[in-house]
Symmetry: D2
Subunit: 296 residues, 4 copies
C-alpha cells in the first residue's frame, strides 16, 4: 500500500536514437511491474533525432530493489540500441557534493544555508579553498575544509599542477555526485575537466556566451548592457563553453557601477547555481551534443 | 513516408482518474498504429488524483483519418472509466475565432497583426463591437464587423438582454472555437457564460485574484503595488474567477501614474492574451476543478 | 581633497508639499557648502501634490559635521513648510537590525550570509525566536539569540501579551533601525505596530494584495495562479496592508504542489526581503499616504 | 494658471563634464522663470566624470516660447563649458518616424497598431521596403510605402550603393526624428550610419553582445542557451555594436526549435523596439562614450 508520505522514488533517465514505440515499451515495462509513475517527461529532439526521457516511480509501488530493477531494465535498454544511455537511481540514496571556493563567499553561504534548511538533496561533504577566508564558516557547519594554495595565475606551472593533483585526490576521496566550482576562480586543467566530465559544475557570472573569461561585470559595464546574468554549466576543456544547465538575468541601468553589478549579480549567481545543482542532483539534466535537456 | 515539412498532427487530449498503466495503454495504442509521437506531455495531479495528457502525433505516420482514429481511441477511453474526457483533432482543420471589443483597441490590433503574420492557428471570422471606434481597422483586414450597441451599465436591463441575445446569435453563426473578450468591458450574463463554457476567454487587466472587477489599474495605484499584471482566463459566471490560463506582470515604481500603468499594462495584456489564446487553440489547455493544466 | 575611496556620505531625505523652486533651494544650499552630490533623486506625486527627494553628498566635500549640517538644513526645511519631513544621516554611522524568527530559517540564513559577506549596511545585533530551532546557527555567527515562547494562536491572551512585552523590551534595548519579521508568523499587537511604525518590516509570502493572511501558498494552489510572489512591507495595524517596499514573483505551473511553491517561494522571499531591508537601511524608502517612494 | 490637462512640456536634456553646482545652476534658472518641473532626472557617471540631466517643465508655467527659452538657456550651457551638449524641445512639436522593412512584418504591425492607438509620440510618415510584401498593410493605414529593391547580399555593389542613395533621399525628404530598421535585414553603409548618427535605430534579435550578425536564433539554438532576447540600439558603422537603448529576454527550454524561438522572439523584439523608440522620441536617451543613459 502506498503511503502519501513515502518520498522514495526510482528515477530513470534515458537517451537513445528516436523511433516509434519507445514510450510504449518503457511504460509497458513499468506498468507490468505495477510501477506508479509520479513524474514523466519526454522529449524528442528533431534536429538530432534523439529521444530523452525521465521517469520518477514511487519505489514502494514496485516489488523490486533498485538493483533488481536495473537488471530488468537493462534488457529494455538493450532493445533500444547500443547508443542508449540510461541511469536508474533510488532518490533516497545519499548523495555527496564537494564545493571548491576562493575568497568570495556568497554562493558558499547560500548553499550552506540551503543544506542547513534541508533544501539540498545531498550532503556537502567537503569544501576546498585556495584561500582560508571561508574556512571558519565552513567549519561552523561541521564540514571539512581543505586549504590548497595556488600560485598566481600564469606563474609556476609545476606548483599549479601539483595543487590540482592534490585537489583531485581530495575531491575523489569523497566520490561526489557533483563537484561545484562555487566562484573558484581557477581554470581547471583539461585532464581534470575530462576526469570530472558530467559532474563538475561551474557558475559563471555572465549570461553566456556573452562575456566569456575574466571580469565579466567589467565587460558588461563597458558594453553598456541593460541586463546582467549568470550561467550554470558543466565544465568542459573549452573555457565557459560547456553545456548550459541554467541561466537567468536581472535588469540594470546606467546608474549601476561595476560594484553595483557585482552586488546584484551575486543574487542571480546564487539562484542559478542552486537551481542547476538541484536539477543535476535530482537526475533532471541530460546532456547530448553539447546541450542539455532539463526536465525541471 | 514522413516528410519533414509535414505539419499535420493528430492532437489527443485526455483527462481521467489516475491509476497505474494509463501511459502504457495509450502509448501502446499509438505504437500499434505506427504513430510517431512528436510531443507528449503527462501530468498526474496528486491533490485530485486526476491524470492529464496531451499527445501530438504526426498524422502521416498513422494510416487512419481523424474520424477513424477517434472511433478506435473511443475504446481505449472507455477502458479508462466513465469520467474520462478526451478530444482528438486534426491540427490542420480550420479553426475560427470571434472577437468582442469595445473602444480600446490594443488587443485587437495585436491579434489582427498576428493573424496577418500567420502566427494565429485560426481565422478571425468576425469582430463584434459595442462601439464603432474599431470598425474601420477590422474592415481593412477584410473581417466582418458587427456593431451591437449596449445600454449603459445598470440601465435598461431589457435592452441589455436583447443586445446579448443578438451577440449570441451573431457569434454562434460562426461556430467559433474561441470567443475572445478582447477588452469587451461588459459582463456576460450567466446563461451566456454557461453556453460558451470552455471557449469564452477573457483578458483581465490585473494579476488576479488581486483587483477583481472595475478599474484595476486605479486599484493598483491606490494600493501602491510594485508590479502590475494581466490574466487570461476562461469566463465563468463568477466575475474574474474562472480558470486561469496565463498571467504575467511587469515592474512599475512610484513614478507611474494610472495613465502610465494603463500604457505599460497594455503590453502585458496583449502578450498574455495572445499566449493564452494560442494555447487554447492548439488544445494545450485542460480544465479540471476550476484550474488549468497548460501543456505549453 | 576628495578621495575616490571615500565612502562616507551625508544622506538627506525630504518630503513636503510640492511647489516651484524646491530643487533650486536645496541644490543651492548644498552647492553653497561645496557639497558634491553623488546621487540625487526627485519625485513629484501629482495625485497628492507631494514632493520627495533623496540626496547623497560626499561627506568630505562639506566642511561640516552631520550635526552642523542638520542644524543648517533645518532652516531650509522650515522654509518648505510645517508639514515637511526630513532626515539627514551619516552613511557610516552604525546601524542595528533585530530579527524576529520562528522555525523557518531561509530568510535568517540569507541575511546572516549577507551580513557575513559585508553586504548588509547594518549589524544584526540580536535575533528573537519563539522557538529554539534556529538558535545554534545564530550563535555560530556570534549573535545574541533570545527565546521568547508564545502560546498557540488564539490561546491565553495574557501570556501572549506578556510575551510581546518581553519582545518589545528585548528589541528596544538595541535601539534598532529595523525590526525584521523574518517569517515570524505571529501577528504583532496594534500598539507594537504603532510603537515600531516605520521600522518594523515584514516579509509576506504572497504577491499582496492577493492571499492576505495565513497559508498564502495554499490559497495560490487552490486558485491556480501561474505566478507566485512575495511582498516586503512596513507593518501597520491592519494585517498585510502596510506600505509595500518591494515585491517580486516567479513563474509556476500545474506541476507545482504546495510543497514546490514553498520551496520556490523561499527564493523570492529572501530576495525581496533583502532588497527591501537594504533600501530601508540606506534611507531610500519614503512613506506617504500608505505608499512608498523607493529611490533605489 | 496651470491646467491639469495641459500636456505641453519643455524638455531639456544636457550632458557636460561633472562638477559641483550644476544642479543648483539649472534648477535656479528654471525656478527664476517660474518653471514647474514635472520630471527631473540626474546622473553623474563616476567612470567618465560626466553629468547628465533631463528636465520636463510644464510649458504653461514659463512665460516664454521654446525659442526664447533656448536662447536664455544657451547662456547657462555656456557656463558649463564648451563640451556641453544639450537639447530643448516642445513636447507637442510634431515628430516624424520613417520605418525600413523587409518581409517580416511583426515589428511593423506592432508599430502601426501603436500609432493607430495614439501610443506613439510621433507620426509614421513613410515606410521603405526592399520587398513589396508589407505594402498593402502600410497603405491601409494611409501611410506612404516606397519600394526600393536591393540586389542579393554580396552581389552588384553598384546597384546596392544606388539603392542606398535612393533610400537616403527618400528618408531625408521626411526630415525624420528617427529612422527605424524594423527588421530591415540589410547592413547600412558606413556613410549612412554616420549621416543618421543618433537617429537610426535597429532592433537586433539577440541579447547583444551574444550572437552578433546573421541568424542569431540559429546561433542560440546551437549553443543551447536558456533565454533568448532582443536588443534595440543606435546604428553605428561597427555591426551590432552601437549604444544599447533597451534589451529584454524570455525563457526558452530544450523543447524550442528554431521556429519556436523565432515566434517567441518576435514578442520580445516588438516590446524592446517599441520601448526604445518611445524613449528616443521623448528625449529620454542620452549617448556618451558608446553607451546610453536612459531616463525612462
Amino acid at each position: 500500500m502506498i503511503s502519501p508520505d513515502d518520498d522514495r522514488r526510482y528515477v530513470l533517465t534515458l537517451g537513445c536514437p528516436d523511433r516509434t514505440g519507445i514510450v510504449a515499451r518503457i511504460s509497458q515495462f513499468l506498468s507490468d511491474l505495477g510501477g506508479w509513475i509520479v513524474e514523466a517527461a519526454y522529449h524528442a529532439d528533431q534536429s538530432s533525432d534523439w529521444f530523452f526521457t525521465r521517469q520518477s516511480i514511487l519505489a514502494s509501488s514496485v516489488d523490486l530493489s533498485v538493483y533488481e530493477l536495473r537488471e530488468r531494465f537493462a534488457e529494455v535498454a538493450a532493445e533500444l540500441g547500443p547508443e542508449t544511455e540510461w541511469t536508474l537511481h533510488d532518490s533516497t540514496a545519499p548523495k555527496r557534493v564537494v564545493l571548491m571556493v576562493s575568497k568570495d563567499g556568497h554562493c558558499l553561504h547560500d548553499l550552506l544555508g540551503r543544506a542547513a534548511q534541508g533544501e539540498l538533496p545531498a550532503t556537502i561533504t567537503a569544501v576546498i579553498g585556495n584561500h582560508r577566508d571561508l574556512e571558519s564558516v565552513v567549519r561552523s557547519h561541521g564540514i571539512a575544509f581543505h586549504h590548497v594554495p595556488f600560485p598566481k595565475s600564469g606563474q609556476d606551472p609545476e606548483a599549479r599542477a601539483a595543487a590540482f593533483d592534490e585537489v583531485r585526490e581530495l575531491v575523489d576521496a569523497h566520490d561526489p555526485h557533483a563537484v561545484v566550482l562555487a566562484r573558484f576562480m581557477q581554470i581547471l586543467p583539461e585532464d581534470l575537466c575530462e576526469h570530472w566530465a558530467g559532474k563538475a559544475i561551474n557558475i559563471h557570472h555572465s549570461f553566456l556566451p556573452s562575456f566569456v573569461g575574466a571580469r565579466p561585470y567589467h565587460q558588461a559595464f563597458t558594453r553598456g548592457v541593460k541586463l546582467i546574468g549568470a550561467t550554470c554549466h558543466y565544465v568542459t576543456p573549452e573555457l565557459d563553453a560547456g553545456p548550459i544547465i541554467e541561466q537567468d538575468v536581472t535588469r540594470i541601468d546606467h546608474t549601476y557601477r561595476v560594484a553595483d553589478m557585482v552586488r546584484e549579480g551575486r543574487d542571480i549567481e546564487k539562484l542559478v547555481l542552486a537551481r542547476g545543482l538541484r536539477w543535476h542532483l535530482e537526475d533532471r539534466v541530460l546532456v547530448h551534443g553539447g546541450k542539455t535537456v532539463v526536465f525541471s
